[in-house]
């Protein structure tokens, strides 16, 4: 656990790079006498999820908190810190499993006395920590994890999630395939064998069943998380020819699969359909077959639309992180911090400018909406505790001149088209044919 500073592994070899956000801030604002807002940040700094999700999210937290503290964000986020209060961060590594995270969350609230926590990428971690925050009556924002079960199976007063859950990934992919008249006589699936992979394949298969019932499921593979070697899986997929091959794999697993399948020429006769793959593009470049259908649970990165806020975020993030562009986890961390900032300031406006209590914070964030680099975020599910947002799906194309992968044929989907309505469980909604979806 680190207090006051964010130390995050950087992209260059050699190690950890840190920054003194809070210290610099105190001097810059002259707010030494002013009470600080202490914010816990939990993200993967080590382990397999660090490179793809944890570090980009941590880098976003570092960048955005710096901007907040010096009043560098555009309106309506341009007040210094949170309502003038400097932000001090305490960063915790999410690695180590759910039991460890429960203890770490208690430490954040009870020893570090943080005012709020923004964190958690792993669905298992989110499911484990949400009841703890509720029990302690402390404010918690889940920023990334995908499982719909958080607010579909329970109700919370102090817990929020500021990004859409994972059902949107697969509904939007199926809608894209249908909308673009992609021929899908049969589809293969390969997903990691844990909650995320299992949930994703169930959602995608159900969405395809509802929207493209003529498409027949083929191979359904579940390699273990971190398998590394996919030669056998590539053979199994090749033995069941299919128009598309769907995968929710991410990080090193997805990179290894694409490298190995591509090396065998196995991606020539099938179109890859990837639900969460934007983060692998900068590394793989031309190894990603052109025409791969891609989602990122939000209109993020190369799928995002231009806006003053998005332009500011992309340029600020890249310049603070060695030119590396933001990916989906960076966007989700940013939209969580933007929402939290407005909630704190709204609560302060209502309580005479004092630091808000967890109850006041919860009242301010519940049911609210705010602009973000990836589009508008609206807290409309889970009694105002679960966000919905629009998303975008596109196809990849390698640009050899710029040495980067760009998105073409991008289609955006409004939030109500790809998220279930309030009070409905995601899988039930998908299986029922997504009644009430508004896609106009």
């Amino acid at each position: 656990m680190r207090t006051g500073t964010l130390h995050l592994p950087c992209r260059r070899r050699g190690a950890l790079r840190g920054l003194a956000a809070a210290a610099a801030l105190a001097v810059a604002t002259g707010a030494c006498a002013q009470e600080a807002f202490k914010l816990g940040i939990v993200t993967f700094l080590s382990g397999p999820a660090a490179e793809s999700f944890g570090v980009p999210a941590g880098n976003a937290a570092k960048t955005i908190v710096e901007q907040f503290n010096k009043g560098g964000a555009p309106a309506p986020f341009d007040k210094r810190g949170f309502g003038g209060m400097p932000i001090q961060t305490v960063v915790v590594d999410e690695a180590g499993g759910a039991a460890k995270q429960v203890q770490e969350l208690r430490n954040l609230y009870q020893r570090e006395n943080v005012d709020a926590v923004v964190g958690y990428i792993g669905s298992g971690d989110c499911l484990a920590v949400a009841p703890v925050a509720e029990e302690l009556k402390k404010f918690l924002v889940l920023f990334d994890c995908g499982t719909p079960r958080i607010f579909e199976d329970a109700a919370y007063k102090y817990v929020f999630r500021t990004a859409s859950h994972g059902a949107m990934d697969n509904v939007s992919l199926a809608r894209y395939l249908k909308s673009r008249n992609v021929k899908v006589g049969a589809f293969n699936m390969i997903n990691q064998d844990y909650a995320w992979g299992q949930d994703s394949k169930a959602d995608f298969a159900a969405a395809m069943g509802a929207l493209m019932p003529q498409a027949k499921p083929g191979a359904d593979l579940l390699p273990k998380f971190g398998a590394g070697q996919y030669g056998t899986e590539v053979s199994a997929l090749a033995s069941r020819p299919a128009d598309i091959t769907y995968s929710s794999m991410w990080g090193g697993d997805l990179q290894a699969f694409i490298l190995q399948a591509g090396g065998r020429g196995a991606l020539k006769d099938t179109t890859l359909v990837l639900s969460a793959a934007d983060h692998v593009l900068p590394g793989l470049l031309d190894k990603v077959p052109d025409g791969t259908v891609l989602g990122a649970r939000g209109a993020y990165g190369i799928l995002s639309a231009r806006s003053p806020l998005n332009d500011w975020f992309q340029s600020t993030y890249a310049s603070a992180n060695g030119g590396v562009p933001p990916v989906q986890a960076s966007y989700r961390m940013t939209q969580a911090l933007l929402g939290l900032k407005l909630a704190v300031e709204r609560a302060m406006a209502a309580n005479g400018g004092k630091k808000p209590t967890p109850e006041q914070l919860a009242d301010a964030l519940r049911g609210s909406s705010w602009p973000s680099p990836g589009g508008e975020i609206r807290m409309v599910l889970g009694n105002g505790h679960q966000a919905i947002q629009g998303t975008a799906i596109g196809r990849t194309k390698f640009d050899p001149a710029a040495r980067r992968v760009v998105a073409v044929d991008v289609q955006t989907f409004r939030a109500e088209c790809v998220n279930p309505p309030a009070g409905t469980k995601s899988l039930d909604w998908i299986k029922a044919g997504m009644p009430g979806a508004r896609c106009d």
């Binding site: 592994p9 056998t232 990080g251 990179q255 490298l259």
Partner: protein, 296 residues
Amino acid sequence: MAFTILVDAITYASWLFVVSLGLTLVFGVLKILNIAHGSVYALGAYAAASCVAVVASWKLAPAFSLVAMLLAAAGVAAVVGPLLERTLLARFYGRDEVLLLLVTYALFLMLEDLTKLAWGVHPYFVSEPLQLFGNFALGPMRLAGYDLMLVALAAVCGVLTWAVLNRTTVGKIVLAVIHNPEMSASMGVNVQRVYTGAFTAGMFLAALGGAFTAPLVSVQPGLSVSVIVVSFAVVIIGGLGSIPGAAIGALVVGLARAASVHLMPEIELFSIYLVMAAVLMFRPEGLFQAVKARLI
């Protein structure tokens, strides 16, 4: 289908055999179950990625990337092998094997962090060697030429190790130390040097496995975990310390995995350990380890 399963099993087993061979060699000579073997595998992959990048920056022919990978593995072994064996492991010889296991586990954790300190958390890609070999049709399958090269590499490693141990004087000395270190020492064998050499050879095989896997994967933190778990399964099935055992163990694991992925994907994770449990039920010492008589 049977042909595809067999080919998949052989390609998977060849990768696994190179890594497991080092693990079983180290156990055979030093009686150490080296959990840090996986970390050296990862070090080999990182070193190979760096060396191949250097070769590419020098605009050398792509074939030199294979030489670079080999040199990277040798470099890792030359540094890590003697360093770990002499400065750390040697202090624990003669102590409880469980203690040595814990020492190598601690080493595994430290090497993980050291790797991150040296190379960061972002992935490295070295696909040049993979592209070098192209792909080809084999019956109903399309295979990467690189996979075939890995099978050849595994065969060379296995045959060379067997030949050195069984057809050279050095090998006879190593076998003598394996059989009875005290008696070997009394006959004038420098047991300490044998330990260092065998450990370094084991580290070379681990690093070689990592180096030649690098073109197939994204080299990033977490590489070491999965390989060490499945390598343990291989050497336990084959019999700890047995080279033919490592070969057969790798093939058994490869067959179990390939058959399950093709026929019943939902039990893929379970299949390897099911086979391991079955072997241990009937041969608790593994397939190729003879039951030993007590020395006293």
